[in-house]
Amino acid sequence: MKMSRILGKIYVGLILIFLYAPILVLIVLSFNSSRSRVVWGGFTLKWYGSLLKSTTIMNALWTTFLLAVLSALISTVLGLFGALGIYSMKKRSYRIMLFGTKIPMLNADIVTGIALMLWFVRFLPLGFGSILLAHVTFNIPYVILCILPKLRTMDIYQYEAALDLGAGSPYAFFHILIPQILPGILSGFLMAVTLSMDDFVITYFTKGAGINTLSTLIYGEIRKGIKPEMYALSTVLFFIVLVLLILVNLPYDRFFMTAGTGSVREVEHEK
């Protein structure tokens, strides 16, 4: 009995080591003052310092950030409308649309990337705009799938109750329906930010020359030879995505159900 428990723990430990040890090594190396991958030359922040000094890297960081936020915003709005539309469909169309939504998610990134590139080169110059469009495209299904379950479990009678109490439909939509599905909207948004930051393949094919995100920049630099700055940059990227993932997985439901001041809040009047 005891033996099997110890073995179980060892097994889990091994899994964790295989999962996280490589990343841990990367993080440790990013603080290593020696350029060697095997010799510890003492703790340093100089690689992070040279990151800040490099305009290429700072540009890529800015591009990544802007892309993530913009594509997440756009795809959240479009995904919300999409989810509302699918939600109100009858059973058959609902299932067809849901299936259609899942195809781009399961499609191999490289296929999506090449397909989008072929499409874009016909109509617009590759650059920030084409990457943004590509990111919006692959984000929308995830947003829809984050919001749809919330719509399905929400209480539609609350919306009707708002109308019944005198609210116009826009007021009821924003004050009653949206708050009910807000956890889904938020996790959809954060999911989109994460996916956008994380993406390499689709970005690589749709970016054109002269623009880089962190992932495409790291890839380009690594091909020239591994520099410790890249360890630092990868570490930064890892932690940003980690924080986002933690945010996505927060229990919003509990947060929103207990939030609120309890005072009589100001409300603009519906005319």
Binding site: Y157, A161, L163, T258, G260
Partner: protein, 365 residues
């Protein structure tokens, strides 16, 4: 008679090709407690939703206080609804829930605070302002839903099976509370339920519906004592429903036996439905009576015994009495002429309706 407030005129409504309401016409008067009663799928909830403005009829119109409100959206109607599952705003506390309608109307803060306190007092939940709906019991949520509706001083309060989710004791308590509320507020209540006991207890007028048709409109006493057709007789309380032939006025033949009754106007030698309530069947231990019978089962129900009595005329009667007759005893069966209720045989459509009563599946419409 009070002034007519609401009139449904020839309302028809279909969902996906299924006709839910068929040419419904109904008047509701000021300060009346009207209950729409019927089994699942009878169209009672659809009728209420048309009145609330959540459904538009395919045909017909809804008049309110002399004006046509058929196409007026719900937020512009002078009535409020208590929904089946309460539909409290889960992200708002009790005070904000109740204040919702008043804020939209632009009432000032002091007025709103007073009204919240008043309405909470009315439903017996003082001091609940800062609680959230998820922390309330079903009965408390129900009261908040009522408070949220009546605080807007509607002319009519619509209630869609509001007690359905509560347990028996709570439900009975709430029935008396609703009657009290109606007396205090002096407004019209339109109540939807499938529970005949609820309907009989609270209503001034009961509208019995089935398959989109109104079967009978009347006071609870009328509906119970003088059902107009087999559906109503069967749906309201328990009854012995017997095929009979009206020989002439005041004489009906059941199972080959002529029995005196008090009903007239059914013609001569016409087939009719005969209803005898179980509590109106009198048993005689000495076997005296026009019909002879044998007790084949007996069950104790608390206030009375319930028996099945097989009779000499081929009919098995359901009987409720306070006397005990052991199984196998031979008894005489008497029925007072006043307690024999004669009804027309239903028209073909109604007949179909009645036959389907036991087999209607699924959700209420």
């Amino acid at each position: 008679m009070a002034k007519e407030l609401i009139r449904f005129e020839n309302i028809s409504k279909s969902f996906d090709g299924t006709e839910v309401l068929k040419d419904l016409t109904l008047s509701i008067h000021e300060n009346e407690f009207v209950t729409l009663l019927g089994p699942s799928g009878c169209g009672k909830t659809t009728t209420l939703r048309i009145l609330g403005g959540f459904e538009t009829p395919d045909k017909g119109r809804v008049m309110f206080d002399g004006g046509d409100i058929t196409n007026i959206p719900p937020n512009k109607r002078p009535l409020n609804t208590v929904f089946q599952k309460y539909a409290l705003f889960t992200h708002m506390n009790v005070a904000d829930n109740i204040a919702f309608g008043l804020k939209i109307k632009g009432k000032d803060k002091d007025h709103i605070r007073e009204k919240i306190a008043y309405s909470l007092k009315l439903v017996g939940l003082e001091g609940f302002e800062n609680r959230y709906p998820s922390s309330l019991s079903g009965g408390q949520q129900q009261r908040i839903a009522i408070a949220r509706a009546i605080v807007n001083e509607p002319q009519v309060l619509l209630l869609d099976e509001p007690l359905g989710a509560l347990d028996l004791k709570l439900r009975q308590g709430m029935q008396y509370e609703l009657i009290r509320l109606k007396e205090e507020l002096g407004i019209t209540f339109v109540y939807v339920t499938h529970d005949q006991e609820e309907a009989l207890t609270m209503s001034d007028t009961v509208v019995v519906m089935n398959q989109g048709l109104i079967q009978q409109i009347g006071t609870p006493e009328d509906i119970y004592n003088e059902p107009q057709n087999a559906f109503v007789a069967d749906f309201i309380g328990e009854s012995n429903l017997i095929d009979g032939i009206m020989i002439h006025d005041c004489l009906v033949n059941i199972g080959g036996l002529d029995l005196p009754c008090v009903d007239t106007g059914f013609g001569n030698n016409n087939p009719v439905d005969v209803v005898i309530r179980p509590e109106d069947v009198e048993l005689d231990a000495d076997g005296n009576g026009p019909i002879k019978g044998t007790v084949i089962s007996i069950v104790f129900k608390g206030v009375h015994w319930e028996m099945h009595v097989e009779s000499s005329i081929g009919i098995t009667f359901l009987v409720q009495t306070t006397e005990h007759f052991p199984v196998g005893s031979v008894v005489g069966i008497n029925v007072d002429p006043y307690n024999i209720q004669i009804m027309h045989k239903p028209s073909s459509e109604d007949a179909q309706v009645f036959d389907q009563l036991e087999t209607i599946p699924g959700e209420d419409l």
